[in-house]
Assembly symmetry: C2
Homo-oligomer: 104 residues x 2
Amino acid sequence: MSGVPELLVLRLLANQEMYGYELVRTIKLVTGEAISIGEGVIYPILHNLESAGALKAKRKPVNGRTRVYYSVTTKGQKRLQLLISDWQRINSGVKAALGEPEHA
Amino acid sequence: MSGVPELLVLRLLANQEMYGYELVRTIKLVTGEAISIGEGVIYPILHNLESAGALKAKRKPVNGRTRVYYSVTTKGQKRLQLLISDWQRINSGVKAALGEPEHA
DNA sequence: CCCAATACCTTGAACTACGAGGTAATACTA
DNA sequence: TAGTATTACCTCGTAGTTCAAGGTATTGGG
């Protein structure tokens, strides 16, 4: 029903490639601290999306550490579109229900 | 993360008492078909909220059938407020992330 | 030298949600 | 009057989601 973490991951990666640890920080940043998603959520999502062919990974050694950069594939863009329209549908439904003072 | 079904149940019952079967239909109705929540989701939520003291149940025989009407307690209203503010927080976060064309 | 930060990861549990079924009564239709 | 649809309750098993807590290894600052 929610799928918010996956939506955010795909949305941010559609902008530019990033690595997992960076995503954790960026999500907190762009949502103005409203949403905070831990590494224990991010990494499984990245792995699942990659094996589903929605993301592709590129390993880059930076300062001796290895970063795994992810970018969105065509399949991933379709998935993103789907998640966005799902979210908007749910959102409009909830908004309608919340702004419902009287109803028979 | 989501909690949408519970939110809708509490919100609608805050308006007026209803029974489970009625909630299923009403949710579809007020959300303009955007959200459809089955009985397999509704009834467990009603039972959980009742045993948590957020709802109180009243059995009414109607046409030989028994309906269980639920209404929101003070505790339930607090819970509703909490779920609403959670939802709004998530929603503003997602909106911020979605309308994010460029970001360093 | 030690601790914080970076960067990856997994695991187990909890919670959420869904579909499929099961019961029983009334109401409609043929 | 027989059969089907609708109302109305419910549970169960499963699948999916999310989380906190941990574990490893490196770099950088104090």
